[in-house]
Symmetry: C4
Subunit: 227 residues, 4 copies
């Protein structure tokens, strides 16, 4: 009943690689009889929201995969609850080809429809972010994580990941202000997790290690004084 | 001709991860020119049977995968009949995107059409359940199972899995009473296999182990008296 | 440039598992507004050629996979030509969802259209069979096969596989007599490779081993007499 | 944050095997009610650009996969930039079912539309080629490559791969002369990478090894004279 994380990870990888590849099915070829006198180039350029949402969602799945992989680098054992949270994470992520298609179809529609599209996109990725964190919190709490892992790094990762649902919550709220601000937030998040993210984790890990040393030294001094 | 179970399991995992991801293709984006004056939000909310059937079927494949994995934890060798039963199990499970789509299309239709949808859904999963059991019975009978496995646990698993086709048979019959009762049965089954299931197996394994001890003691006593 | 067969096999397995799962996309759900007064049950029953071709093609891919696996059980090294033949084998097999869809669409059409459908189905699988044999002949000829493998078994497998394109050639010709005979030939081939096939290989392997012994003894006797 | 190349390669393989299999979805079965009095054979033959583009793109993905595999044969470690370049390579390659479908739809259209189709096809594959080279240059530059690998071979591979974006750039320019010339360039490139390519690499590796020997000997002689 409790698959080893190796199998769980392989299954998840399969799902991620299919999700990322299915995104291309949202790119429709304008049919020759639909061009209505326009050139193919014109018809293809008109579809620019499709290309933007394809690129955003592709990178999105790539970032989720990379972080999932980092997480399972530390998880050594598996249990039923872990399995369930992971399945829910996949369920939310697997909706991306659908939510992306909504965005692509309504990216040039009326403002209220773009809001709905941004709302659904943020909600789905926010939910994925919540299950991602539940998965990690459960793994840490239930002792499924490698006991020899650097605790400062685990702590930094917990903070790093806790920001995901917070940011998608923000993107969700920004939808009401302007759906374009919401899309900009996704792009910012992607950029953060792809580029400065790893350096921030290293910095946080180092800072906590130094702090811990200071705390330990202080405790030692106190206990020496106390002696 | 007789692939090792490792390869069989990898192939099955591939199929399961594709099935689970293809389910999203059943979620249609309402086209902008089909809204007929309604808002996108309205059109999306109207599709609620789609979301329910997506969620049910996603969890369904997740549960089948998890149980398949548990089964192959005990199966060490493979033969031609095992291969065939496994292929038939995959054939039935791979129909889920189709049966789910039927449910989604006719979930709000006339009662007799919902009955047909529920009927097909139950029949396909019931057939998958039967092949799942044939696979296991064959593996146990033909000595393909790890000889060092706890026999009490194997016995508990056999009972655990035998309930699947029985319950889908019940869901099938309930279709004639009410298709909604049938859907409720699927949800109940999912819940059982996802949550209390593992504990029930532990309890059954423990109970049989205690019973066997009593039986052995009784036999010993009888043979002592007999002496 | 020459991937190890392990990677080649994993890539092929991925392709096979996707082909087999994509077949379900050929099963169309009749749309509620297309029923034209008929019940859903009626509309679904009308689609029986779809279900037959789904089942045939699913088992077909399963059989190709199983035989591909058997073959790579003996192949230890890989080269550029092997890679090319394997790619061509995958190219032909990956056409199955297309050729199956033709069959499903025209299975109840006029006789000449069914003939075309059967013709294409046979030609594609026949071509797959040819590349399967080229792959094996090259592997044996170029010394890519495990040198410790039983030569009698390798010989039996060569014969076993050489029948595939021959039978599909026959199915191809029978198309002109009757497309139904052609379909019956596919079913027969599937049955042969799924069930008696493995026993036939064992029998051929054994027979050749006995023959070889007789030949060796005869040669020994001749050389003794010659002395 | 930095997955081992093993996982990166497995993920990429999953994506490649899905891309290659999704290509078949571009092959449409002419619907029975669209034949307009023509035979099925006629309708299928009319679709010849579909079959050509399917075959070209299938071999294309096969060649990218084989070269990706060769590259990762030498890459031993992974970092964040490698991950990003690889994701961008997959993003461009995953567009192939889309760009192929454009080609298939407009392969018989007006000349300016074929030009657009060829233009997009060349641009996408050219971009994939650029990321392929960035990946390799980064791996060599950042010391992620196996330090025991033959430097002459690594040098030959760098040259070998640098030609890809150059050739697609050429195909891109040729589009303006004639889209057919462009397609011929793709076919030529495929042929080169599938057949003489490996021999050219061997020859380049050997030539550089000999040259290096000559250089070393000359240096030795100079230093001897210098003494």
């Amino acid at each position: 009943m409790t698959p080893s994380p190796v199998r769980l990870e392989a299954f998840s990888d399969g799902v991620f690689s299919i999700i990322i590849t299915l995104l291309v099915l949202d790119l429709h070829v304008p049919r020759a009889d639909e061009l209505a006198g326009h050139s193919l180039a014109h018809a293809l350029l008109q579809q620019w929201p499709l290309y933007l949402s394809y690129t955003l969602s592709f990178l999105q799945v790539g970032v989720v995969w990379a972080n999932h992989h980092t997480m399972f680098h530390y998880i050594q054992r598996s249990d039923h609850v872990l399995l369930f949270h992971n399945l829910m994470l996949l369920l939310c992520t697997a909706l991306l080809p659908f939510t992306t298609a909504i965005f692509a179809e309504y990216g040039l529609a009326s403002r209220s429809d773009i809001q709905i599209a941004a709302f659904i996109y943020s909600a789905t990725l926010g939910a994925a972010g919540i299950f991602f964190n539940l998965l990690w919190q459960h793994a840490v709490g239930a002792g499924l994580v490698n006991p020899h892992a650097d605790p400062n790094r685990l702590h930094a990762l917990s903070w790093h990941w806790m920001f995901v649902p917070v940011f998608y919550g923000l993107a969700f709220v920004l939808t009401f202000v302007s759906p374009y601000l919401s899309v900009a937030t996704y792009a910012l998040l992607l950029f953060y997790y792809a580029f400065p993210g790893p350096s921030v984790i290293r910095w946080m890990t180092g800072r906590r290690a130094r702090r811990m040393k200071v705390l330990l030294r202080r405790r030692d001094r106190t206990s020496l004084t106390g002696q």
